[in-house]
Symmetry: C2
Subunit: 158 residues, 2 copies
């Protein structure tokens, strides 16, 4: 990591610490940068907002997209104090930044009591073996709406 | 699926259709139920809100948790018009409902032009082979904050 990149990662780590200390949530922080400028930031806010999706990366992605007025983060860099969990990794792929820097990794997260690794393992299991039961039904009805989407003109792809 | 379950799935499918038709986002809807009552709902709102994380399941989970005043969905059922993408699946695991019903599946989503399957595949790749570059750095600094979390007293686990 370059000196400039370290400055942004230091900010993300600061956010992980301040969020934890103020009781917002767990020790996670994230900063999103475009052309050398911070355009979004977030601390884990699960406890403060009662929102299980309020991980640092999700908060920062929502903040950056609001500031850009766009649902994509092309050309942006994500600095996160910990390797993203599957939810946040999925969010990163939907937002499509160009690069992700992380500090703590999955094993560090597991050692600190966070379930990321468990969720990564569940993703690879067939439905019958998962801890949460998944049941498929009414596919035919739902698929009619997909067919309408496929035929829809002038739609915005995201 | 029971008749009651079909009623809730029909609602989720209706939300997938109305959200698409009003231009909120893609053709996805979700309903969350506790003890036979709807406690949260959502349509994909990526385009309306410029928020790449505003998938139907995330919107519905945030709505349900707001209504319950809690960051967990214990004892709840999630009805989603399509098999969750990795982001939404992760969100579901963090929210911990008891059961998930889905209608369209991953293949249907791919046929309708949605990237879910691509993201599922990326999750399993080592960093060097991923489309988005992932770089680790400053682990030692970030880990000090994790150590503070581990030692923190009276913390709420989520």
């Amino acid at each position: 990591m370059s000196e400039e990149q370290k400055v942004f990662m230091r900010m993300a780590i600061e956010l992980s610490k301040s969020g934890m200390e103020s009781g917002k949530g767990g020790p996670f922080g994230c900063v999103i940068v475009k052309n050398g400028k911070v355009i979004g930031l977030g601390s884990n806010s699960v406890l403060e907002t009662n929102d299980p999706t309020a991980h640092a990366e999700i908060v920062a992605i929502r903040d950056a997209c609001k500031n850009l007025g766009h649902f994509q983060l092309e050309g942006c860099e994500v600095y996160t104090s910990c390797e993203p969990c599957p939810m946040c990794l999925g969010a990163i792929y939907w937002a499509r930044p160009s690069k992700v820097f992380f500090a703590n990794d999955k094993k560090d997260a597991a050692n600190a009591g966070f379930d990321d690794d468990f969720i990564y393992k569940e993703l690879d299991l067939p439905y019958a073996k998962r801890k949460i039961q998944f049941v498929q039904g009414m596919q035919e009805s739902a698929n009619k709406v997909f067919q309408e989407w496929i035929l829809k003109e002038n739609k915005t792809l995201y």
